[in-house]
Symmetry: C2
Subunit: 282 residues, 2 copies
């Protein structure tokens, strides 16, 4: 499958687990584009250079963006929202595609529209990541086989197709959706499990339990409790109202279970377990 | 390390993921003992025989137990509690060791004492298992490196040492504790994560989400939702009061998070995330 690479010069802004993995994956493609990296963390710049993930990691953002035909914002959501208007102004080519990888698509789409770059902005969200953070946790195969949500305005059609082609070249499966549908879905499939893991970890900590007391199930159930709070702050600020509803549903489920265990009425829990077992496809 | 095998003839009662894995692990040891299996599920008996996990799988429990110097109860908790008095009576040798692998140690210890076999009963609980069930999910290396809790009366000293030696020969790490301490620990490290997974799965199902919508985090967080409800029924009936408390703590955590997200007060959640991140050792 020899195709013309959709982009020749890519600037990856943010070199943590997402940006680092993206840069490393790009470097491994057949027609590898020129990849520049930028991070406000000098250690991550050095690590990315040393690992060969980027060909240059200039100190100035402006220099990293110069002549790029794609800029990839791989920062936490709030930083991406701050960077979009800056990038829209001066340093980037007027025809360059702007893409982000953050976990909510409504806030970035709004900022892009306000900054007048909605017609060349492509929001993406790969369903891959790690509870670990930083370039050290990046992997060239992080996106291999991953579903990648694509959210863009109809006017950004040509940019969207190139971004989809790029994700496909990294082994990922792009799928289009709307910002609203995406963010509602994430409130349930991503934000709710994350906060559940934090709640569980807090309850275990509260009960005097250390992680080394856990078996494989408990370890899996608290893995996300190690996730980067800085990244989550922005996602929670922009959260969809369904997250609030789902958190209250969960809290209600757990209160009922407490009542059932206390009252010796195990049948209600067993019947819920039968349902979730079928749901999980056992 | 050539040692005399602690047992020569072992009867494994219950051939699901735990009993099946135990039988398969025994068969792989250097001085493999004679292993007989028994299950009320004829398909599992056939599967265990076919896999070479057991040398015989007689239809009658009495025949399976004949001349055994160790009987391993690898059934759900309630079945183990029913079987102990039966076994104490007739068919088993008077000097045979009785061992179980169920997830709570107080109920079996009580039944063993009442049946007059407390001095040769050794409760064990390997911190290993699978959300899948049945012999098909068994693995010879399931217990490799696993912590195994050991709960026995002081009078059962010689039996306890032999059981510990047996677990060690399977690559596991036996550790002694009391029934009360074990069950309190399990309410937090095992029962709470299990019910949390079920609650989360129910909330996702409620929100119209299918498992295929989940990313790696959400999949890990709902894996246990596929666990065997029959096995859990008994564990929940015998649950430690700390489980009720922990469920209410979790429910409270999630309600507070819902309030915080709704009120735009993300700082409180971020500060909880910082704490759980340190707890998890990130």
């Amino acid at each position: 499958m020899s195709e013309v690479a959709p982009f020749q010069r890519i600037a990856v802004i943010g070199l943590g687990v997402m940006g680092g993995s993206f840069a490393r994956a790009l470097t491994g493609t057949a027609a590898a584009p020129e990849v520049r990296g930028w991070s406000n963390d000098a250690d991550e710049c050095r690590a990315a250079l040393y690992a060969g993930a980027v060909m240059a990691a200039p100190e100035s953002l402006k220099e990293a963006l110069r002549d790029a035909d794609l800029v990839v914002l791989a920062t936490p959501l709030q930083a991406a929202c701050r960077l979009i208007p800056d990038i829209a102004e001066d340093p980037l080519r007027r025809d360059a595609t702007i893409m982000d990888v953050s976990g909510l698509k409504t806030p970035v789409a709004l900022v892009a529209a306000e900054a007048g770059v909605g017609s060349r902005f492509v929001g993406t969200h790969p369903m891959a990541g790690s509870e670990a953070s930083g370039f050290a946790a990046s992997r060239p195969d992080l996106f291999d086989g991953a579903l990648v949500w694509i959210v863009a305005e109809p006017e950004a059609g040509a940019h969207t197709e190139k971004v989809e082609a790029l994700w496909r070249s990294l082994g990922a499966n792009p799928m289009r959706t709307s910002a609203a549908a995406h963010d509602r879905l994430m409130s349930l499939v991503s934000h709710l499990p994350q906060l559940t893991a934090n709640s569980l970890a807090a309850a275990l900590d509260n009960g005097g339990i250390s992680p080394e007391h856990l078996g494989p199930g408990g370890r899996d159930m608290t893995r996300l409790a190690a996730s980067n709070p800085e990244m989550w702050a922005g996602l929670l600020e922009g959260a969809h109202p369904d997250l609030v509803r789902a958190l209250r549903t969960m809290a209600g489920n757990l209160q009922s279970m407490a009542d059932n265990v206390e009252g010796g009425d195990v049948e209600a829990i067993v019947s819920l377990m039968e349902k979730t077992r079928i749901w999980r496809g056992a």
